[in-house]
Symmetry: C2
Subunit: 199 residues, 2 copies
């Protein structure tokens, strides 16, 4: 730290990094919904306008804090367009197509960094439940609270599949085509989206 | 490193650590089945007998290398005793009972360490597929190779569930009782154990 850092700053070479640090700490405590840009700006000692200047919306700040260089619309759009009865296939096809492409190494790095020691699993939780699956949760809400629980189970299955295929490399799963994996993984995933839940 | 370390040693304060290092490197390359105690002993510069003296069987050495202080029989025994049609419930009940108890912190640490940057996901693969689920694979082998593929899908679902409940802490999943989680997670897990597979 150099001198003259106290008080509100209008921008310095590492203001951006300090905002990101404050964002990670804030989101880890309060999640996406429970954390305001204002509180992050205050923790970083800057004006809210500067946060928006650097990062755009709160969701964009969240993605930057998570270091996910992926537009969540890549998953949200196919899910939004799919009938609920086909949501598992739509979700898996979008995700696996992305992970089988050039983003694979990035995806593996994001999982390993955020899940590993020193990483912050709470940020993974926010990305999956508050951004990627947010719209699906409302559509799955057949009974009170069902949607949130189903989203937990969807995220668990999807996460386990991505780790098994791309991070740990289970065989034969890792060598199958996207179509083959979608055919295998869609039925149990669809079950937690639209199947019956125990009382 | 002190002097006099070259050649075969009959034991020194850190011979045990050197065997473990050689074991991790060997298992990461060849898996449990493809790695011999002899090759590990050679890489560590000691006699095979010394490896057995310190660690017992190859499987015990594997567990020590993975730093899993859990007897895999805790999961294998209930699975062995359960009819295949009830294997999902038996597996989930054994695992969740263990993770909801005093081994929870250890389990979280094992996942975070081995999956994180610098950890070795291949060791997780060997533990799940070559030890914990090894006997189940043969029983699930309805068609040629089916058992291995089903085991991949079982391991993916179980791993995703453990991460979701214990590492990342999805709510409401993390706050449910073991019985409630077993009821929720058993049907999709049973589907990949005994349900139909696509061609």
């Amino acid at each position: 730290m150099s001198a003259g850092r106290s008080g509100r700053r209008s921008g310095s070479p590492d203001t951006r990094a300090q905002i990101l640090d404050a964002a990670r700490a804030g989101f880890a405590r309060g999640g996406l919904a429970g954390t305001t840009v204002r509180s992050i700006a205050e923790a970083a000692g800057v004006d809210s306008a500067l946060v928006h200047h650097y990062f755009g919306t709160k969701q964009q700040l969240y993605l930057a804090a998570l270091e996910i260089p992926v537009d969540p619309e890549f998953v949200r759009a196919p899910l939004r367009d799919a009938p609920l009865d086909d949501a598992a296939r739509a979700l898996l096809r979008a995700l696996l197509t992305m992970w089988d492409g050039p983003l694979r190494d990035v995806g593996v790095a994001v999982i390993r960094t955020n899940l590993g020691n020193g990483g912050d699993p709470a940020i993974v939780r926010g990305f999956l439940l508050e951004i990627a699956l947010a719209e699906l949760i409302g559509r799955m809400d057949a009974g009170p609270g069902d949607g949130a629980l189903r989203a937990n189970l969807v995220a668990a299955q999807v996460f386990g599949l991505l780790v098994a295929r791309y991070v740990v490399g289970f065989e034969p799963l890792a060598s199958l085509t996207v179509d083959e994996v979608v055919d295998l993984a869609a039925p149990p995933l669809q079950q937690v989206i639209t199947g019956p839940l125990p009382n």
